[in-house]
Point group: C3
Chain length 223, copies 3
């Protein structure tokens, strides 16, 4: 039987890779060079986990101590360099890879918090922080308004759902590689469907109209 | 007699609430949705304290471990959602709530540093960092030039005054709930008066003129 | 004979001063006031080291505990205030001081990691993070696109070279005040030459053209 640790490491590495690709794609769209592509891929893919490790006081973040975590960002930058010269739909791809990272990181972040002895509420919060932290760093670093705050989009809710389900499964003793993949699938489907169907939640003030950014962006599906 | 710990917890929670309202107001002004409002309220109100706790190595920040700290941001987002649909003067309100948070956090941040055994200079610096850190995170996240650096405004000096007075009172053995409220009042009055009267300090280079943003913004009072 | 600790402290303080001047110069260019100048100088000069100390779990960052680290930012803000009123070429000066900070911080950051027992790869990564972290914070705080990601420039590679050489010298037992200055000279020369000659590396996607920002910025030398 496969141990939880191995499952966690693999989910984490795949999540790191997904986020790294989203970072390299943003670097490409912003006309950064190949070194900037590696750096932005590293910041987005390793930043969320670094915040998590610093918060739970787990010693130096794995990103610094375990060199295997450097492979995904390098791989992502190379992949984007060689394969995406003819790609037009950067935004769609960026959103899909970002959703993959989000789905996996809300699980691994929550689990790390639970196994280090935090209470359920704290574990959910830390899972969400891990999941949205890397993307937030990516958007702040590249001087963009963070996706996290895009009112035409749902980004944090899927991470809350994933962190909540992970905590529930853990306390019921049902967490395994299989149920982890199931939760990741739910989070990914929620995030991507919300994006394609342009689901949205009410604005920060009751009765305010959405505007400025175009009605089509709200009612219609996006590519 | 009320213990220092209880006074500190309440001052901290009220400060968290003030900063949270400023976050939700900025979210409203930037047309974020209700989830973004809760998140920005959380970042501004809990971010400064989280930086402080990570710096003094106090274990996981209270924001993650004590669920009571989640109530102010949720309350702030709800309040802004239901009460501010007809409000025009977001900027004034935002500044007032932000000043309230600043006044309380420079006290609680300094005290936490003093009680964890740091020297007076370090305690003042950490108090100021706690007080201005949340607002800085808020403005960076929302992709604005931080209020902290607005040359038409005085923002960091009141926090230094508050942290300095707190350190002085502590070392004289005069710190209590009463003197804490007094210091908070001084910091709040200094910050708000500087803002309404448009007090300012010299620019970063001697002999340079203020310009571009309008002379009226410097000499006249603002609403 | 001078101990490594003394060499390190001095290299660190000089690096802090260089970065602080770059912060005050950016504050001047962005029309911040004198308080904002001190704060931005502090953020850029002490931020990279604070990130390093938090990551290696070295207790509160020296910036908070050792008051001597407050002298360089104060000195830098005063210097810029009194001396630069007639200076036109802010960008050139900013780049030179920034390069000086980069050259010294990639050495001191790497050494701190090595002496706290990290492996060579982790030490190089932490050295680079220390060197580029302060400047990244400076540019994010001032709401600019980070120099680190400017595709017309080479910024991270010199830091990698410096961190790599430092690690090599350390493991060969050849690290001393003399070789440290040699490495700093190489990093500084690499960074400044790359900037003056407008060296660049390929963009993030193969076959893409540099454009928009002007061909002259790429092929010609800058002042």
């Amino acid at each position: 039987m496969i141990s939880i640790d191995i499952v966690l490491l693999w989910l984490d590495l795949v999540g790191v890779f997904f986020f790294a690709v989203s970072g390299s794609l943003l670097a490409a769209r912003k006309q950064f060079d190949i070194v900037g592509s590696v750096l932005l891929a590293s910041i987005v893919s390793l930043g969320g986990g670094a915040i998590r490790d610093v918060v739970i006081n787990a010693g130096p973040p794995v990103a610094f101590t375990n060199p295997v975590y450097l492979i995904p960002p390098l791989l992502a930058a190379l992949l984007v360099y060689f394969l995406f010269s003819s790609v037009q739909r950067f935004t769609s791809l960026l959103t899909l890879f970002d959703a993959g990272g989000l789905a996996l990181f809300c699980i691994t972040g929550t689990l790390k918090a639970l196994t280090s002895g935090m209470n359920p509420v704290a574990a959910i919060l830390l899972g969400v922080t891990t999941a949205v932290g890397g993307g937030l760093l990516r958007d702040i670093t590249a001087n963009e308004i963070p996706t996290l705050f895009d009112a035409r989009d749902i980004y944090a809710l899927p991470a809350f759902v994933g962190a909540g389900l992970t905590t529930l499964l853990w306390h019921l003793g049902l967490f395994s590689g299989l149920t982890a993949c199931l939760v990741a699938g739910i989070v990914f489907a929620f995030r991507v469907t919300a994006w394609r169907r342009s689901w949205y939640v009410p604005l920060a003030v009751r009765g305010w109209q959405r505007g400025g950014t175009g009605a089509g962006a709200i009612s219609g599906a996006r590519d």
